[in-house]
Amino acid sequence: MTNTTAPDRPGRQKRDTTLGHIAYVLRENPVTLVAFAMLGFFLGSAIFGPSLVPFDPLATNAARALEPPSWDHWFGTDNLGRDVFSRVVVATRLDLTISVAAVALSFVTGSILGSVAGYWGGWIDAVLNRFLDTIMAFPLFVLAMGVVAALGNTIENIIYATAIINVPFYARVVRAEVNIRRNAGFAQAAKLAGNSDLRILAVHIFPNALPPMMVQVSLNLGWAILNAAGLSFIGLGVRPPTPEWGIMVAEGANFIVSGEWWLALFPGLWLMLAVFTFNLMGDGLRDIVDPRKRS
């Protein structure tokens, strides 16, 4: 228990414990620490990568095409002589943007739909559930392909497509979590304290759904990267020569048979590490947003 922390001002106290709590979660669980360190690395590459890489990711150099990894070119060069390392690092920004934007979009949409359905129930709930069932009845990747193919081959559309196929998962989690708390004592008490229904839902009930949502978010971030890369791999979405992990794996795959393994391996490895990072983060994120873990 926190007997030793004498509170002086509630505001300061709260910030202290939040930071302290994050530090505690990271200390307690080395896996979470590793995941957050890797996340830091990826965020760093996304923000500073383009200005730090040794070569221009788009500059071709026919004289040095298809060179294996060396001190000059850590990850080797591709068939046009472009530096694979620079391309892998620069691609981080695009891939993270797509996955974070898609997940944020589906998180917000799913939360709103799920909260409304879970809180008011009735016909809204029934209609929404059948609608979500319909989305889930499609093979999701095929649905995403269809959306991108129909709307056009742009990055925004990849984001929309990835968001649409993820919405049902968020909406269902939120709906269940809100529904069981709809008549909880604290929701009733909030009503007595003069809160409107909307405010009770947004301020009192919804935040309680965050811990399971965080697990969903982290799994989804990894999954969204895979999805975006998958779309690029089959030729939908990001187009060459833009550096993107999915395209790089797709293009590199042609050279594996002839022994140029580095073209596909390194972007694939980065993709795997990114997905891995997000999946490992889940438990840590949940513990951070759950006040019950603070003791």
Binding site: M1, T2, A6, P7, P10, Q13, K14, T17, A184, G185, F186, Q188, A189, A190, K191, L192, A193, G194, N195, S196, D197, H204, P207, N208, P291, R292, R294, S295
Partner: protein, 548 residues
Amino acid sequence: MLEVKDLSVAFRTRKGEVEAVRGVSFDVKRGETLGIVGESGSGKSVTSYALMRILDAGGEIRSGNVTYGGIDLRAASERNMRDVRGREMSMIFQNPRAALNPIRKVGHQIEDVLIQHARATHQDAREKAIRAMEDVRINDAAARYDAYPFELSGGMCQRIVIAIALACDPRLLIADEPTTGLDITTQKAVMDLVRDLTRDRGMAMVLITHDLGLASQYCDRIVVMKDGEIVEEGDPQRLFSQPKHAYTRRLVDATPRIGASIRDLLPPEERTPQPSHIIHDRPLLEVIDLAKSYPGKSGPVQAVKGISFAILAGQSVGLVGESGSGKSTTSEMIARLQDPTSGAIRFEGQHIALTPAARFTTHHARRDIQMVFQDATDSLNPRDTAGSAIAEPLKRIEKLKGAQLCARVEELADLTGLPRPLLSRFPHQLSGGQKARVGIARAIALEPKLLILDEPTAALDVSIQALVLNLLVDLRAKLGMTYLFVSHDLNVVRLLCDEVLVMKDGEIVDRGPAAKIMSNPDHPYTRSLISAAPQPPTAPEPEKRAVN
């Protein structure tokens, strides 16, 4: 028959090892009923789990001996323990619904045990199961055989659990809070049944309970536990008349009983004179022909069937009834959390039921009608600190901000006896009594005229209940509030209330001044409620009389 010597049980947790039971020794003789009494966290349940060797993961018997009829239970193999459980010793648990498998017919669940212990074959299992159900006084047992647990009432489920526990004629029955969560009349029926059955079969019983009154009524001998240790042992009469240990004395004092006033529940050194409250001669609340029905499978279900009553300003009225009587629905309608189907609610002469519950938030009477909820844990948002929970009504309705808000929250904490440092804690870091105080502080933050108390002490230990009830008495005198106290326990209602309304099946069957209802009830239902309440042996000491 059962001998426990120096038993210690420890649990491994995140914060290191916790000793739940420390050097406990007791024995149970053939045919005897032993009560283990203690408040939550005293280690009484852990002790019983250790006897049956069904401790949770992380729990371990550290030292001591448990012998049953000459067998060393600590050394016995898991295989032998399986034979001992059920055949020699068996157990009934706190929540009968949780103890039964929800998707199997209750008859089959009894058969399972019979067949498992070779008491029946597949051919005669059904017949024996029905006989076992008849033994626990289930009417029409052959029809109930095919029922699922959710189709039966709580009391009926507990009877099935008892039938399962007794199916193989064990010689020792361990009952862990067998009646917690049951209505008071059901509690009496179940306890009488268990007593008769154990007596007829010459069985011994260990009754684990937090209720000293209940234990004293059904046990031959009582051990009192606190913090994993036995502090006192003796026969009920003696424990009540001459408790030796200070803790036993506190428990005895805190148990509501005939002739004791609300201040008598506190330890003697804390008994300040009881403040009186002023009752005005004008009605604050009038309930006229209030009715509520819900749509049900076979037509509408009438939860409240047209009740009328009035509460004078400053008066405390108790609304007593068992589960399903409609008392909670009534209180929620008055608190304007639910809309009545018909009827009127007049608050200070105004018809407040005309504003639908969904829009009552902005009604000017919102601040004057507040409520303290039954389950303090459930009524606090797990993500909000105690301080922000209390601040909520002040921020939303009173529009207080900053330093003013802080000052008022601290003032309310002082008023309800909640230490200020606890304001920054989250609900899971508070004890049951502290959470109850937070709930009360939040409800009185706006100084409401009418405070509805929905079983505010039902989930609390008796010693905490005593403190909370006394706090309510003090607050009433200080703030001049009117109380509507909803409870199933007449013994508690009597302590706090001037008038009592008794509800049954959605109707008010009995009403009158609290003293008259208790001493001279008109209605047979009220009489059965009063007689069902466990009465601890009364042996008031002379000094107590003097205080009264």
